[in-house]
């Protein structure tokens, strides 16, 4: 069951990234994708044993070794701590960028942003009055 839920979470994030137009929502969706991966590592890692990966000899004299053989692999969890930190960096950076984009473009809607950026470049052939081809024509006439 759990693997399917994780897959669903992952796909939900991808769906949000593709379908939501607001940049902030895209950042949220990115976090959902990342969470899916974190849960995957932690959950699948937890299947490798049944007790916490703590040296237990002193807590349970006599049966520590038996418990040691049954510990959860600590590595995936440790890796995910790193990934969470990186995820926070990325989120902070993405939100900063979104704020700056809003200041410069006046919108957070990706479609309008892309249209505005294309217009700045003079890219769409019908819309731009002074696209690149005009001076080019002048050259070839000479």
């Amino acid at each position: 069951m759990a693997p399917y839920l994780i897959l669903a979470l992952f796909l939900l994030g991808i769906w949000g990234l593709v379908r939501k137009d607001n940049l902030i929502k895209k950042v949220i969706a990115l976090n959902i994708v990342n969470s899916a991966l974190i849960v995957l590592f932690v959950y699948m890692g937890s299947l490798s044993g049944s007790t916490a990966p703590i040296l237990v000899e002193r807590l349970h004299p006599g049966e520590g070794l038996r418990r040691l053989a049954d510990i959860v692999d600590p590595l995936p969890q440790a890796l995910m701590l790193t990934d969470i930190v990186i995820g926070i960096c990325l989120t902070a950076l993405a939100l900063t960028l979104a704020a700056r984009i809003y200041r410069r473009f006046g919108t957070l809607d990706i479609r309008r942003l892309e249209k505005a950026a294309a217009q700045d470049d003079g890219a769409p052939p019908p819309a731009s009055p002074e696209g690149g081809s005009r001076p080019d024509d002048g050259q070839s006439g000479e």
Binding site: I14, L17, V18, R19, L23, K26, L30, V33, N34, L37, L40, F41, M44, L75, P76, L79, T82, D83, I86, C89, L90, L93, A94, L97, A98, R100, I101, R104, F105, I110, R111, L113, E114, A117, A118, D120, D121, G122, A123, P124, P125, G131, G132, S133, R134, P135, D136, G138, Q139, S140, E142
Partner: protein
């Protein structure tokens, strides 16, 4: 001796911190940025100097140098490996980074924060090259990426912010796939060390899927079709030295990740897919490049196209092709950075970046002779004219692809397109001065400072050297490529027949078709319309992400079935 390896990481990091401190000098002092730049240059020069005592491991084919970080051995700790591939890519990467940084210092408009992130990017690059641990690789890849997002966002125009955001989202999803690949690897082999992993068994199917996931992650950063969507915007909007580093270092480093992973696991099926992907990428990139009117976007699409050459040759997988792939990788790092810097110098001098408008100014070849000469070196290199390095590596790739007719033809077609699009780009220098009717006067130009020219000369000289001494360079790189276990002990390519009639005929055909294509594309109404149509086709972010996921599925299915 092995302590020197960790210094390759420590020095840029220390340099970054010191350069960053430049921001906290008293407000009054205006030397902060300049000092930060010098700190950056010194630390990169120190890194380059570190490579000298390490040269025996890079060139003489000794066993890789291992440095266990913190003194912990491999199954527990992380080890750094310095082998021939790592040494060579460090050399090229650091050289390009040094030249770009010199250019940035000469521009003299960057704040200390810029140098901080620039050095962080170099740290990430070195980390990716050196680490022997898969998760560590992921961390360094993220450091590299985050530094590059910030540097791109520092571009002058407001599109830079959007380009950076798009790149952030696309590459984060790509790296998400990479993380998935790491998980699958760990699950089936029980270790994260690349060396130990190669020996460990595991479910073959899971491993294959894992390699595909990792390849998608690396592929998004390497920007071959269909993962290229972020590159033109990002590379075109970034500040000029950053564009040079992105094209010369970033996409190469991620390709080396792919190289290592594929050659470690001998994923032959994936290689076969990459041959096709590379050929298509080369042609696609060049078609899109001809359509561009923005100088830097044109160069950016060429990065896509040239990576196609490299990926295709890598996919062919023979000893000759691998040597050629590596050769072209080195060459492309050099000449594409040179091109970005020289075009950057033109943009800085004129304040214009549109090909048509630059032509309108006219007479730039005479007014910026130094920049023009250096631009010419880069252009002749990328167009593959002898005796420049592009001719050598493209010739090697062509002979490496013998027996694979389709890929060979794709590569030749891309070569013709390259000629056509650089004829178009050279127009910015070659256009004559328009009749004095237009108002702009010569005074409007800002001549490049000597340091800027020096940065470009430092790149142009190796461009010439790798072209003039193909035997020496080719032999060395073939030895590096031979470290790839999939190739075994087969002798590498000795480019003896480089100027054979066969290759010269290829060259003549490429040039003829290229010139024809140029005339067709720019001098006819149909070509104009076609180019305008192509220019208007831009992948939105949603399309880009859709392509990414679709690319993953296709790659997985193809690899699975073959």
């Amino acid at each position: 001796m092995s302590e020197l390896v960790i210094l390759l990481l420590v020095v840029p990091l220390a340099g970054a911190v010191v350069a960053g401190l430049g921001a906290y000098l008293p407000r009054r002092s205006e030397r902060g940025p300049g000092l930060a730049g010098v700190v950056g240059l010194v630390s990169l020069a120190a890194c380059l100097a570190l490579l000298i005592p390490l040269a025996p491991w890079g060139l003489a084919g000794r066993e890789p140098l291992v440095y266990p970080v913190g003194g912990w051995g491999e199954p527990v700790g992380i080890a750094l490996y310095l082998d021939a591939l790592a040494w060579t890519s460090s050399l090229v990467g650091l050289l390009v980074a040094f030249c770009a940084l010199l250019f940035a210092v000469a521009e003299g408009k960057h704040v200390p924060r810029f140098y901080f992130f620039f050095l962080l990017l170099v740290l990430g690059m070195e980390g990716v090259i050196l680490t022997g641990d898969l998760f560590n690789l992921f961390v360094f890849l993220q450091i590299l990426s985050i530094a590059s997002y910030i540097l791109i966002a520092g571009g002058e125009r407001r599109q830079a912010l959007l380009a950076s955001f798009r790149y952030l989202v696309i590459s984060s999803v790509g790296i998400g796939f990479f993380l998935l690949g790491i998980f699958l690897f760990y699950k089936s082999t029980g270790t994260l060390s690349l060396r130990l992993m190669a020996g460990a068994g595991g479910s073959f199917r899971t491993l294959e899927l894992a390699v595909v996931c990792l390849a998608v992650g690396a592929g998004v950063k390497t920007a071959f079709v269909p993962f290229h969507t972020w590159l033109p915007d990002a590379h075109a909007s970034a500040p000029h030295p950053v564009s040079a580093v992105l094209s010369g270092v970033m996409i190469k480093v991620s390709f080396l990740v792919l190289w290592r992973l594929v050659s470690l696991f001998g994923a032959g099926d994936l290689r076969h897919v990459l041959l096709w992907v590379g050929g298509l990428t080369a042609v696609f990139g060049v078609i899109a490049a001809i359509a561009q009117t923005d100088t830097k976007r044109l160069l950016a699409y060429h990065s896509v196209s040239q990576m196609g050459y490299i990926v295709a040759a890598f996919g062919a997988g023979t000893a000759a092709a691998l040597g050629a792939s590596l050769y072209h990788l080195v060459n492309h790092s050099l000449f594409k950075s040179l091109l970005f810097l020289s075009v950057g110098a033109v943009i800085r001098a004129t304040g214009e970046r549109d090909i048509g408008r630059l032509k309108g100014i006219g007479g730039l070849a005479g007014r910026l002779p130094g920049v023009f000469a250096l631009f010419l070196v880069g252009t002749l290199s990328i167009a593959g004219l002898p005796p420049f390095n592009g001719y050598v590596s493209k010739g090697l790739i062509a002979s490496g692809l013998q027996g694979r007719a389709a890929a060979y033809l794709l590569i030749l077609a891309a070569g013709a397109g390259t000629v056509a699009s650089f004829l178009k780009l050279s127009g910015i220098f070659l256009a004559r001065k328009p009749a004095a009717s237009r108002g702009r006067t010569a005074a409007a130009l800002r001549p490049p400072p000597p340091a800027m020219l020096a940065a470009m000369i430092l790149l142009a000289v190796p461009c010439l050297a790798t072209g003039l001494f193909p035997r020496v360079v080719g032999g060395a790189l073939a030895r590096v490529a031979r470290a790839d276990p999939a190739v075994g002990g087969i002798a590498g390519p000795v480019p003896g027949g480089l100027y054979s009639p066969m290759h010269l005929a290829e060259l003549a055909a490429t040039l003829a078709v290229g010139i024809g294509l140029y005339l067709l594309a720019t001098r006819t109404r149909l070509g104009d319309r076609l180019l305008a149509f192509l220019r208007g086709r831009r992948a939105g972010l949603s399309t880009a992400l859709g392509l990414l996921v679709a690319g993953f599925v296709v790659l997985a299915v193809l690899t699975w079935r073959l």
